[in-house]
């Protein structure tokens, strides 16, 4: 659960501000889990309403009640929507997708990405402040010595929005962010069947497959959960092997903290080579089978 990960920075900020942590959840189980991780007070917001975004006003009410100095919300698309709404109601500043957080000079200081990955900056937000944090920026903390209290509050959700059909992606169970080694495939592959070359290599390396935006969203060769990039997954494996992938900034921002980056591409001028520790200039159709065979020995 993303909110569990948020408990780690929350516990740090609690030390700086010496203020209690209130956790808000949309299920009783989640509320209990957060209390167990160190939230002083966990609140289960109970409503008949099903639309998650519809809880924004109720969340704001709880935030006001708790007189929170800092509000942390998971940086999913819904989370960011709710966070910005709450920030506006609080008349507060908000930092989106903070990578680090601390309190300095009475402000919330965060680092984040700008210009589609071209730059990084520090952002200072006066308190009270809102921050969203992307999944896997932090790891969940260990269980707290003493769990916090849990409360159930009945709330209303936004009745103005009618929720219609919900279609889940249906590719559950794929989490490339935990893989130690990833082979990322790009459009250098000519057809879906050719991905087998990457799968064979992945089997030998004990790696997972990842891909570029085009492979997932345009070609639909792999599920969206495998797509690495600015609006996809962010990964930090030990090995990121990019095959037939040009390496544009929007992709690289999702994998640039990998320990070792390797690239295979026919185009010597592809940007991926600037971002790689090791690069092979060659045809992936030739290189991959040779590499698979070499690693089997």
């Amino acid at each position: 659960m993303l909110a569990s990960q948020l408990m780690t920075p929350a516990l740090e900020l609690k030390k700086s501000l010496n203020q209690p942590i209130t956790a808000l959840a949309l299920s009783e189980a989640d509320a209990k889990a957060l209390a167990a991780l160190g939230a002083d007070h966990a609140v289960f917001l109970q409503s008949a309403g099903k639309w998650v975004d519809g809880f924004a006003e109720a969340i704001f009410t709880q935030v006001s009640k708790a007189a929170a100095s800092i509000v942390l919300i998971g940086g999913t698309l819904r989370g960011k929507t709710i966070a910005a709404y709450v920030a506006a109601k609080m008349n507060a500043g908000m930092t989106t997708d903070a990578m680090t957080l601390k309190v300095a000079n009475g402000k919330l200081q965060a680092t984040r990405v700008l210009y589609a990955g071209l730059a990084m900056c520090e952002e200072d937000v006066v308190l009270p402040a809102v921050a969203t944090i992307r999944p896997r920026t932090f790891l969940a903390p260990p269980a707290a010595a003493i769990p916090g209290t849990v409360e159930t509050v009945a709330v209303e959700t936004d009745a103005r929005v009618t929720l219609g059909a919900v279609s889940p992606n249906g590719d559950t169970g794929v989490d490339i962010t935990t893989a130690g080694k990833l082979i990322a495939v790009g459009r250098g592959f000519r057809k879906k069947e050719d991905l087998k070359l990457a799968e064979d290599l992945a089997a030998v390396l004990k790696a997972e497959l990842a891909c570029s935006r085009g492979v997932a969203e345009d070609e639909h060769w792999l599920p969206i959960a495998r797509y690495v990039g600015i609006s996809g997954q962010t990964v930090k494996p030990d090995l990121y092997l990019a095959v037939g992938l040009s390496g544009q900034v929007q992709h690289m921002v999702g994998c640039r903290e990998s320990k070792v980056i390797v690239a295979v591409n026919t185009d010597e001028r592809a940007p991926i080579f600037e971002a790689a520790d090791y690069g092979v200039v060659g045809d992936l159709y030739e290189v991959l089978p040779l590499l698979t065979a070499a690693l089997r020995k």
């Binding site: 506006a88 009618t162 200039v281 060659g282």
Partner: protein, 259 residues
Amino acid sequence: MPKCLVCYKWTLDEQDIKIKPEDLSLDASRAKGKISDFDRNAIEEAALLVEKNGGAVDALTYGTATVKQSLKDALSRGPAKVYWIADASAESADAAVTANVLAAAIRKIGPYDLILCGEGSSDMFNQQTAARLAALLGIPCLTFLQKLSGEGAVVSATRKLEDGTEEVSVTGPVVVSVLSEINKPRIPTMKQVLGASKKPNEEIKIADLGLKPEDLVPKATRSTVKGFVMQRKNVMFKESSAADNVAKLKAGLASEGLI
């Protein structure tokens, strides 16, 4: 047909921004302005709605003096009129200030049934404007849309989220933010570009918006902006024999302790 307003930001083209190698600071001196990429999708979506349902769409922008360079560009893409606010406050404005200004302007020139934004600006990508506007204007918001339609008073949309899609609809005024995949912005034809100068634009002065001084003070301020440069080994294997390259790569992987 809903009365539409599309909000856009005039940003620097990040492709023109260079990283100074001495101190990794950003050099934007040669950067040209552009309508933020996702806002172009918002403008296009509004234009498509008008083409389908009739009516007209207005555009609204808040920026520094350079925002005047955006007017013809915006008008060549479909809107019938553009409202603009050019003020020094935009230089340091954060999402809170931006929303305050836009909301005040909308209260002045509106009401609008449908307010469109891009999912985020191509420079800062705060992704806050749409939801903030909704909160300030007291209307619902539907964000991250891959599909949008407006039939009469009902706005229906498909949101694309990490775990799947959901269909939502609202009767009455609403703010939406659109994804880049919702449409492909048209290339303005020559006539559309030349016709832009015949369309009206109206300046709104910040002083006329009834804002308090603190509404224009940013809550979030940026410092230490540094270009991100990949520091990698850049070892290249370019032998004519793929087998040779593979052998060298294998050795490299072994030296890294990966195999």
